[in-house]
Symmetry: C2
Subunit: 343 residues, 2 copies
DNA sequence: CTGAAAGCGCTTACAG
DNA sequence: CTGAAAGCGCTTACAG
């Protein structure tokens, strides 16, 4: 298969064997310019004989395109890391990888790590999908500096300096909060507490706004606890114990971050409260954590595969220079009611 | 930040501003050759002023390295696809992405699709991790043709034409089968059936061999059903109903493929059998499917994050031209006993 | 320690 | 439809 020199054959080798010029081989390969059928056949023959495979790096350098997109999130490792905890990011990555193929592109998975600059240093990409960025998101800043086209999943934080003009796919934060709150109220909950992260993400602020409005409307005293994402499950555990001590009459806890929900469930067990009889619990992301909890957690199906498919197509259009709208409606979230909130 | 021409600055621009040659800038960047501290400072200054970011495609073309590895599996989509079904592949990908960073490399996620050649066409990589390849695995053949270094996760099928000499990380198929069978026997199961896929993977053949030996030793008549992976959950559903009709005294089913286990559980429900009282069920991969089933499925913790970390390091050593052993012991699997097999 | 130059393997105007 | 040539932006011998 290999040529005699022992190194990979190049267009030059193919051209020589087929008796044409390099440019003609290139044209036959790319289909950009017409090539005589008979000539094309000779070239295909030569390619097969030599086992020629194009050097992608050379092609990329020449065209400036990498046929690669990347997906990333700056969500702190404490709430997203651990191989089986990466659900949110990984669901999106899996779907994006499949849909990127339709555009002849590969997907690079950028893991959540301490230093985004390090994570991106060796990633060449035509565009990026950024999941739920926070204010002053490091990934967003780096990408802007590099001039990489970006599509955001979830509403970007208000007035992000690195571009309030970024296109995004709506994850319906308002509707998500309403689905969970109305479910809790329907189930008879009256003293609903909210445990949020401290990061400045739109998902958090929107959830709090909706929660406050709903509580106000129903005359329920609001109770919001914020836990730094970096403290992860344990931070939520401590916060929940504190909550139960100071608000012993709480009968429901709304915990959007699933890692926090795990901590809250443990705290409830340790405090001797029964879920859902004494206290109902709901979370947002319907991943491993929600499903392995006992009772399993009521959560929201965000239809992330469809969201990722949408984001991928938008990004490809953006890369291709097409006009795209700034906000794209994602699929509507749906409630997945489970034992943690209903009898 | 950008230079006046509106295009990205290059080493040339940096060199001009710093008053040195291109080569010196390159040396300062790579650290390959010593550079005078004072000169280096001028270069760093110029880089900062211009906002210079190296063109990775050019670097890759020149060095022949891509700082990228890929992870892939040829497991049919019917048993692995669907965003939340990709657990096995995604757990490995998540871990590999993190560990690849230690080697300044990015991870490309190659999704399971109908045509591996299409999936790989635009992927440039220094090496690849291939998960549980089957005999005549298309990915393995393509990679061999391209001369890409490969590390396999799980034992490769016997005498693979594309290289029985591939290095691999052991997933302990024998021990896994023994853990599950001994657990079933301990729980009192005596009529154990085995439902396998038809693909030629070592995990399947090893499991069957162990199963047959154990049954023989205990005088239990073996009962093995093979279902094509392409038929997925539904195929296993049909097979299980057939099994229960023809072997009504079955009191346990060993279903290594988790998608099949979901089908088997549904068949048991439809046949009016109670799990675990009438029939005990165990599977291998401890993912979403195992945990959301009711009762939750007894499964095996394969410690895939550690397996992936090992595979990544091995691959990096292989790429670096180091000698590596052909077989690497992965972490030992451990039983996760759940309601599907114990009272 | 530094510079000048070659060349990696493609694709793309530019001619014909 | 095809060829000859330039050039993408790096890194790396080769001199000094």
């Amino acid at each position: 298969m290999d040529n005699t020199a022992g190194k990979r054959p190049t267009v030059k080798d193919v051209a020589r064997l087929a008796g044409v010029s390099q440019g003609t081989v290139s044209n036959a390969l790319s289909g950009m310019r017409g090539v005589d059928p008979e000539t094309r056949q000779r070239i295909d023959q030569a390619i097969a004989t030599l086992g020629y495979v194009p050097n992608l790096a050379a092609r990329r350098m020449r065209t400036g395109l990498t046929n690669t997109i990347a997906v990333m999130t700056s969500m702190p490792a404490a709430v997203s890391a651990g191989s089986s905890r990466l659900g949110f990011l990984m669901e999106i990555a899996a779907s994006a990888a499949i849909h990127a193929l339709d555009y002849n592109s590969a997907l690079v998975l950028v893991p959540p790590v301490a230093d985004p600059a390090v994570a991106l240093r060796h990633v060449a990409m035509d565009g990026a999908i950024v999941i739920e960025p926070q204010r002053d998101d490091a990934f967003l800043s780096l990408l802007k500096h590099r001039g990489v086209p970006v599509v955001v999943i979830g509403e970007p934080p208000a007035s992000h300096p690195s571009g309030g003009d970024l296109p995004w796919v709506d994850l319906h934060y308002t509707r998500t909060a309403e689905l969970l709150l109305s479910h809790l109220l329907e189930q008879g909950a009256r003293r609903i507490a909210l445990i949020l992260g401290t990061s400045s993400r739109a998902s958090q602020s929107t959830t709090e706004v909706i929660y406050q409005a709903w509580m106000l409307l129903r005359g329920i005293p609001p109770c919001v606890i914020r836990v730094p994402e970096t403290e992860g499950e344990e931070g939520a555990y401590q916060a929940t114990r504190y909550l139960l001590t100071n608000n012993p009459d709480v009968d429901a806890i709304f915990v959007p971050v699933d890692a926090f929900a795990t901590g809250a469930m443990r705290a409830l067990r340790d405090e001797g409260r029964t879920v859902p009889d004494d206290v109902r619990v709901v979370t947002r992301y319907d991943g491993l954590r929600a499903r392995e909890e006992r009772p399993a957690l009521t959560a929201i199906d965000l239809h992330l595969d469809q969201v990722a498919a949408l984001a991928t197509r938008l990004l490809m259009d953006l890369i291709a220079g097409k006009e795209i709208q700034q906000v794209t409606e994602g699929p509507l979230p749906s409630l997945v009611a489970r034992g943690s909130s209903q009898d």
